[in-house]
Amino acid sequence: MIEVREPGLMTTVQDTGRYGQYHIGMPPSGAMDQFAHKIANYLVGNNEDAPTLEMTYQGAELAFDETTLIAVTGADMSPTLDDEPIPTWTAVEVEAGQTLCFKFSQEGVRSYLSVAGGFDVPEIMDSSSTYTLIGLGGFEGRQLQTGDELHCGDETYEEDRIGSTAPNAHRPDYSQNDIRVIMGLCDYRLTDEGRKRFLNTEWKVSNEADRVGYRFEGPDITDMFEEREQPFGAGTDVTNVVDLGYPIGSIQMAGQPIVLMRDAVTGGGYATVGTLVSPDRSMLSQCRTHSGVTFESIGIDEALEIREERDDSLESLREKLR
């Protein structure tokens, strides 16, 4: 059993996501940084979809009453075990009676904690991910609170796994702020000049940046839109469209650009103008409030290459840690 002494700022149980329910308005949820989540699982010998804890900016304080294997990946929150620093991106054995502590993240936003066997919570619609808006999944459908008691799944692990580590080449640089997108969806609504301005702007991550979406601050976006007589059913604002579905990672133009993340609204009536290539959705989730981000327009072939590169990197690491 693992007792939550301090929950941290926003700590939830997440996995690779809940799929097949988008048509009823259910977003996938799941770890915001899928890359870090999967590596945390590989390190302790889990399948990539085993539930981990996602911690945001300020991590938790957790007391273990059984011996197990853990790994911490993602943002560096300077983890300690009974006040002794432990390495990140590395499988570490925790002994019964020890306390794991995290501080405020120095770089990146989200840390992932895996335990051998995964955190044991009920699956809802084939996923353990937490979707707090409707109180679904994870640990009682909510973020962790002081006093919660977590349990691990099947806890056996091989001794020689202790100390396994992800080489530096597999650890992302979270200060990277160039986010690659395929422009499209409703980007026909932008003028040529507006499109240029959108891509040339360094946007600031606002303090409204969470699991639902990342809202950006920057120049007025209504100027970037083509004036038109609005089509029937769209609504009167120049950024309105007839309500449509939003891809996860799409950029919605509602007052300011908002990149929709894994707990996103699944659709609505604001023009979307592009979609982040999937690995960069994980990267954006590690961009901190007030940091600058630019959107780089790429084509489908390059997007597929980027995805393949990421998949290959995960696969080679999985093989290595097997």
């Binding site: 048509h23 089509p231 604002d237 309500d243 579905g245 699944t266």
Partner: protein, 300 residues
């Protein structure tokens, strides 16, 4: 009541768009019409039936649809080609479906949405009127009551479910010249009561849970459209009530009936008034007034 038929909409060539490396978004029309919506329903139903490998999500919307897929198993261009073939082979007048018709009671001008809309007056086009007063005026109705009568005067079709789980976008089953149209709030509100009935563009929305929202607020329904715990008998199979293609008949109620239904909902004994019809687009297009009367009859 009018005898006008529903004019068929000539749809432009669909726009196929990449959504990153793992989505395809298809816009059938920039404007809303039954033609565009029925086509989105028909195509997405057909894709589900085909059970292509690599498909993750299939989500129809009002005049468009969205597909998520695994690029390892399916290339975006191969999917688009498949969709184009499908699109050219579909005639929506051949397409019919079993639609559930629901009675949806609404307390218009309820105290809860009234409190909310007064709180956000500075974000509204007309701070000196209520949302209903404003909507009635810009749509040429002489009173709020005649506007409400129009809103309940013909059933609505659920043309999309989304935004949040279980939120139905509802399009009234009338010819375009009789459709209500209103703008959304100038700036979205940060609060909306659960079960609020709102209107934006040409759509009525029922908000399943409390949260942000930009639609004009008209009233509140005592019945749930989302029941996560699935405690109510009508949510046996799914946690959301209506699906795209279902029909909602809005009915104005008073506070006493609202409270009585709420009591039944909270004690878990409420049963929805509903029945199933086979929805036939061509019959509806020909004479919507008569067709709507038949739909409402099955639940009265």
């Amino acid at each position: 009541m009018t005898e006008t038929e529903i004019k068929r909409q000539q749809l432009p060539s669909p726009r196929y768009e990449y959504g990153g490396d793992d989505y395809v978004f298809v816009e059938l029309d920039e404007e809303m019409s039954f033609d565009a919506n029925f086509k989105a329903q028909a195509i997405t139903q057909e894709i589900r039936n085909r059970d292509l490998s690599g498909i993750i999500e299939v989500a129809p919307a009002n005049a468009s649809y969205l597909i998520q897929f695994d690029p390892k198993q399916l290339h975006a261009n191969a999917l688009i080609e498949e969709l184009q073939t499908l699109e050219s082979g579909i005639d929506i007048t051949d397409y019919q479906w079993d639609a559930t018709v629901y009675d949806i009671p609404i307390l218009y001008e309820d105290p809860w949405t009234h409190e909310t809309l007064m709180e956000f007056r500075e974000r509204h086009q007309d701070p000196d009127a209520t949302d209903l007063e404003y909507s009635a005026r810009i749509n040429g109705f002489e009173s709020v009551q005649s506007f409400i009568d129009h809103h309940t005067g013909a059933p609505h079709m659920v043309t999309m479910v989304g935004f949040v789980p279980g939120l139905p976008f509802c399009f009234q089953m009338r010819p375009r010249e009789e459709q209500i149209e209103v703008p959304k709030y100038e700036q979205p509100r940060t609060a909306t009561p659960s079960r609020a009935v709102g209107f934006g563009g040409a759509f009525t929305a029922i908000y399943p849970v409390q949260g942000a929202g930009g639609y004009q607020l008209y009233g509140r329904t005592p019945v749930e459209v989302l029941n996560v715990e699935q405690e109510l008998a009508d949510f046996d199979e799914s946690m959301v009530l209506p699906n795209p293609g279902d029909l909602l008949n809005f009915r104005q109620i008073d506070r006493d009936e609202y409270d009585a239904i709420r009591e039944e909902i909270e004690s878990g004994t409420y049963r929805y008034t509903k029945d199933t019809v086979e929805f036939q687009p061509h019959e509806f297009f020909k004479n919507p007034t008569r067709y709507n009367e038949r739909i409402v009859e099955v639940i009265s």
